[in-house]
Symmetry: D4
């Protein structure tokens, strides 16, 4: 327990988004759809906000699995995009591994559909090659809770750390003095309760302006 806590680091982290495709989304039943869509977009937003290298991959976009969520394509127009010709585990695809290694990052933030396959296989392979793996549990979906629990167990036992998009954002940001407005806006967009706090606060501030002499 005395080894230093290896935190997520903006300079050392990359984001891997695996198979968030329109058809596959209909398989995700361990989240309510509003919530899952919000979580995936929040993860994408934070990847963009922190300018993390981000890699997209899909499986058979032209078949029943359907195309990648359009928002993801729009948000990362220049990101490496690897449509896999058949490999289920993205780590079996040389181009994907090359793209990961090209980032020079050792901390991999992974999310995808479905958790126990496209996420877990990739996580296990990356761990085996010495990467630190952070699985974004709330941006990874699957058939049901039993499947989710099994796959969390398997990944955790292999050394992956289970995190959520909000934990990732906070661990990367570290200090609000870095920037309040940008991240605050991102949180307000994706956390309704947080937005409500800000709405009430702003309204009250507007109604009750600080006297000039107060700092």
């Amino acid at each position: 327990m005395s080894k230093p806590y290896s935190r997520l680091d903006i300079a050392n982290a990359a984001v891997l988004l695996v198979d968030h495709q329109a058809g596959l989304l209909s398989l995700v039943r361990d989240f309510n759809p509003d919530q899952f869509k919000n979580n995936v977009l929040a993860l994408a937003d934070l990847a963009a906000y922190f300018k993390l290298p981000t890699i997209l991959t899909t499986s058979f976009e032209n078949g029943p699995n359907g195309p990648l969520m359009p928002e993801l394509k729009e948000m990362f127009p220049n990101a490496p995009f690897i449509p896999r010709p058949g490999q289920i585990n993205a780590w079996d695809n040389e181009d994907f591994v090359k793209a990961v290694k090209a980032t020079g990052r050792k901390q991999l933030i992974i999310a995808g559909i479905v958790t126990e396959v496209c996420v877990a296989f990739l996580a296990l392979s990356a761990l085996a090659e010495g990467f630190e793996v952070f699985v974004v549990t709330d941006a990874s979906g699957t058939f049901n809770e039993i499947t989710r629990d099994s796959s969390w167990n398997r990944m955790s036992e292999a050394g992956a750390q289970l995190v959520t998009w909000f934990a990732v954002a906070c661990e990367l940001h570290r200090d609000w003095r870095r920037d309040i407005e940008g991240l605050g806006a991102l949180f307000a967009k994706h956390i309704p309760d947080y937005r409500n706090l800000m709405t009430s606060y702003s309204a009250l501030k507007a109604a009750n302006p600080l006297p000039k002499s107060v700092p």
Copy 2:
């Protein structure tokens, strides 16, 4: 059972949005926040889409209850807006009742926070005055499921019809030939599963254009 089914009618319906305020939203715990926010905005969107007369009311916006959800104010800049000076039941506020009656509509589509108070009291009063009342259950929130179930029972027993925003939209629209694109876009915006179907469909259509000779 032989009396005709009195359907929601674009020409006869009005929407009453009661106390969807930033502070009060933190009391709503019978929905996950992503889902509830989506439902309220979907109801507002359909009110605008069908150009239904819409009335907004709040309770003490300058106090802890906080301001109305900003989106609602933006969407209905010209709607009657009645900040109640103290009446808990909006029907006790003369201006509110006047605004309702001024619409000339007899079908009232009601949603608000919290279900068993601001929604239920208004629903019961309007029923007592001969209006048809449609409670939008999924855009009305409260403390917990027990409270929700009690208040649904009370309103239903008094003659209110329990509906959801999607049922309201479909009952008003009646026939897709009236318009496909507009309502389709509204559904795609608020129902992720529906959007996924459309995304897959469009991609496939684009990839596989109909031969010219096919009808």
Copy 3:
């Protein structure tokens, strides 16, 4: 309470299957998919078993809603099939109403997707015209439990009877002496627990044949 109980009657009942389409099935989240698929097919099987007039209808099969479940088409090749050109409520479609009335039946057994729209609107319209309506709750699906509960309430208050496919089968059959094997096979196919009972029973009977002299 003293009026006779109007039971489902093989000679007076018809089955209406509304919009069980491949795309729309992805919207159904108040059932686990294995269970829902099983329930719909069980209802279809019993309609065929009891030779009830059955009517199929769909909404935009060529669009994102997708085609009817293939099994339904195969099971009822000669049933009236009404693809609605736009009407959300099937009762607004003249051909559909004609097909219903052509059956001469007054008891309508209705199931579909989604419960609060395609099922509820049709149920309410049919009730208003004097039909008896039996909503098959477990072969009708929708977005979530809140929506389901709202729509059950609305239909029940309007006079619909809430039933399940198994209740429908038993109420139609009335007496096992009518036929044991056929209905038993249908139950074994769709109720795993029932099948297990039969498997154990048959194995034991085979191993322990009744002595000849026993009646």
Copy 4:
């Protein structure tokens, strides 16, 4: 539906608290204990706040059922207190009925343990004698959800209205201009989320005093 909505009225309502005894509380498993205790005390607090005639009754306090919750005895030292010598339905106890009738009130607000017995029997008897009955669902507890749902159904079908303590308070209060501080304090005491809103609001007001010229 056109008869006026008969609202809870401070001048016409009485509160009946039935068997909230220390031993019987261990039978209540349809609420978490923190929540149930809070609900019962909130109902008692509002009865005191609105100065409603309140009647206490118990069943065998000296036996395993245990004594009344001490807070209730302390809050209503002068209320009629009827320890029933054996009657399960309090309405079978003449002293209890006399006490109820002595209040001159026709609206009975009832809560107790357990819901399907001490609450339901009393509710059904009072309804049968022409009283209006309001069952406080969240201050009435029982063994499990199945029991609760059954008993709610039975009482509702007999004409009882299902309400919660918060709905009762709001329906009695009607207009915040009657008094803000007292009821606000009661709500803050019993609704943590509400208290949080007030805490944040007050802190911000204190930090940002209104300029003098603002009303």
Copy 5:
């Protein structure tokens, strides 16, 4: 609401136990098995305790449905026992109806497996013939909650009253002065929480005997 509340009456009630058979019990999944077994036996025990006429019926005991729960046969050795040769609705069996009518009772307390068939059909038929019907919800089991909720709704809408075994016992008993020990023992046997109260109470009484002079 002003008609007298028709209570369960020892002199006017009979108990009908329908198809609590060993095989069919494996279909019951809306209760945990410990709880369901306990509820059925509690209902049987109270029927015996109050000496209510009790009628047993089964469906194909020699087939996969299996024999009646042995306890029921033992407890009611002289009760009318009607093995139905095929009728699903027990009311369709002349012997059963004769047995019911022979009791001279008008209040029928019904429980069985499965709720939406053997219980509901019987309840609906008996209601139609003018009996009062009390469905014991927690001694009636079925496949899942959706089925249960549907069938409760159907029976309730037709006029059945939903009760639990404990409510039945209390409503029949009315006054503890009738007998404390017998019913107390029955409750202690079937309600562990109640038994715990009694155990603690008795131990304490034993340790702290009342001084002689106290009444």
Copy 6:
């Protein structure tokens, strides 16, 4: 992973039952009471069946915690019984530790109330002294699921094995040829589904006796 699996062994296991007292049972809310009582008695029955050394301990039986469940006292009249004068962790009580060590057993099967205190502290202390610890999760109860999950995690991380009473019985028994009737009866008594299987089987066997020539 290559070390042999250290199984529960009749010759090496002892059972420690901690604070299953009538008052404390009312704190247990992570089980339904029927189920929990059944599990505790099943564990006691198996301890007796396998003749495992069994040790009972309580905390302040004469105070609010109440006496030990009477069945436990009756089943183990000669077992060491250590009423602790104050120690919360039974391992802090010398007499208890002596009794444990006197058994000569190294596998401790522990259950009690509440899980995170009386069970967990004892488990952690025993592990620290080199015992193998098997926590019977379904005969140990506590306030709620969150508490249970926390304490399971803590004990598991410290090396305790999580088992249930049924797993304990089967792991000790190893081979049904040791005895079928005794253990079968124990299972039938505590597992209603198992009993149903046996009831059906026996009835069928009785009705269909094996021809003599069959082995």
Copy 7:
């Protein structure tokens, strides 16, 4: 974490199906029956599809436990089938161990009834002898969630990997280019959501044939 990820390998894996018997299936209550049956058959189908050595074993088929699910017997007519004469842990049966070792495989994919006994004991024994163990969590069933969670913990702590049938299939297949149709058909048969995607896709392709010149 730097050791290579030891994946499931078609050439090194075997499937052990333990006690999926008709009677024992009635004990499984941590899955809905439709879902569990589907999962077991899906696992069997994939074992056949990948031609994995498969071993069947049962416990007392002629007694109350009942015969093996008939589908399993039909699918693996030539598989080693070991009816255990009494051993609860299949690893205690020499024939079973011999059959396992005869496969020459080191990766054991295990599923059965009930999870904490027949699956867990076998898994722990096999781990102790140096096999890699993959427990198929969704094809293994037991009494309730508490039991399941306990046993997952025990097996995972001992080194077993928790997987689901779908993860097993994908990990074995590795690359869709190996075969699309066969595995696609298997998935469509056992995952209704997947089948729906394929139905919609195929219909659309049929309606919109690719122009000839497109690759």
Copy 8:
């Protein structure tokens, strides 16, 4: 497993309360609000009762996050209070770390909002510096169960022990002979079920005074 169990020790433990602020409390949705408020105050009460060094910290009290729960400020007027100017992980704040180290304690009892950020980051950092970390799971709240489960896993895998406020109190107290009344009162205040036991017990003792001659 043979190393001694390092227990919580009054002389070696400190309590860190992180960001229990009025605004942030509205984000906590993995507890019902009554329960969570009770848990936080119970933890504070026990910190005071055992006179543990306690450190308070907040994040932007003047902004939307709102002020610390007023009770906490009142209970610990002299505790180190570190409003962090921006650091999300309190361990990044030098003053906070200094305050922790100034206590000289090595066992840190941590609770806060939200679990996966303010609690987890601090826990991971403190573990890395060699402290023993006890996370009070029921006084730490966050958005939902998925987030909670992920963060528990991450902290547990890093060596944190998961405890609840009640376990902390009992582990610190060790022996009731240290003091019964004080801790008993604390438990009665925060555990309604416990209070009920004490109420019944006291009433019975008062009614049945011990004869003088009894010890």
